[in-house]
Symmetry: C2
Subunit: 131 residues, 2 copies
């Protein structure tokens, strides 16, 4: 089967039955997300995290190869996680596995999107994902 060429891969992940304590600990969430970027082989450009009252954290790690994002609902043991990476040298599934263990998610669901499919953009298969 021929591999569909795309600029990036984006995992839209749902983490259920996580540790509520972990999901509400700002330092823990920041460090986990930044470490996940490194696990995936990404280069961190910037990050921005915020804790809301009475609970819940939102944050994004901008990487040279796109971004990782998280939104947590500690009261529900739930987190919405996005792992979007470009290029063949970065693997979002490594970040996924790392975070699944970190947050102790008992159940997950993931949809993998190919972003920027070459044939849809109308560029040749030999085009680089960055110039």
């Amino acid at each position: 089967m021929k591999k569909v060429k795309a600029l990036g891969r984006h995992l839209v992940a749902e983490f259920f039955e996580c540790s509520s304590e972990a999901l509400d600990n700002l330092d823990f969430v920041v460090n986990s997300m930044r470490q996940a970027a490194e696990e995936a082989g990404a280069t961190i450009v910037d990050s921005s995290f915020h804790r809301f009252l009475p609970h819940g954290i939102s944050g994004v790690v901008v990487i040279a190869e796109s971004h990782l994002a998280i939104h947590t609902w500690p009261e529900y043991g739930y987190a919405a996680i996005d792992l979007f990476t470009c290029g063949d040298e970065v693997n979002p599934w490594k970040a996924f596995e790392f975070l699944r263990i970190k947050f102790d998610a008992k159940k997950t669901s993931v949809v993998e999107h190919l972003r920027g499919i070459y044939s849809e953009i109308g560029i040749p298969e030999t085009a680089p994902h960055k110039v």
Copy 2:
């Protein structure tokens, strides 16, 4: 048909055949994304944008109701855009329409994800999207 209850809606959008000039103009992209958040009815918490060399911009607007993200490939006229909002008072489709016009996208494709479906989390339909 019964409406599936979820914490948020996430549009995974592909913008094709955009204005390359617009996609490579940092000020224009920042302002467009922040205005898109306002169009959707969201509250901006923070934003982080970066222009790469020789071209391409990545950026995220963290909103109280999740996030908006963009990654542009001006050389291909392509942008990967994510519009993730929570709550019934914010409408990601308004941000989508606004950006489609701003970037002059001749072709788009969108997948709408429900994030944090109540029955999957295991919470009652009467649970609030934030406490």
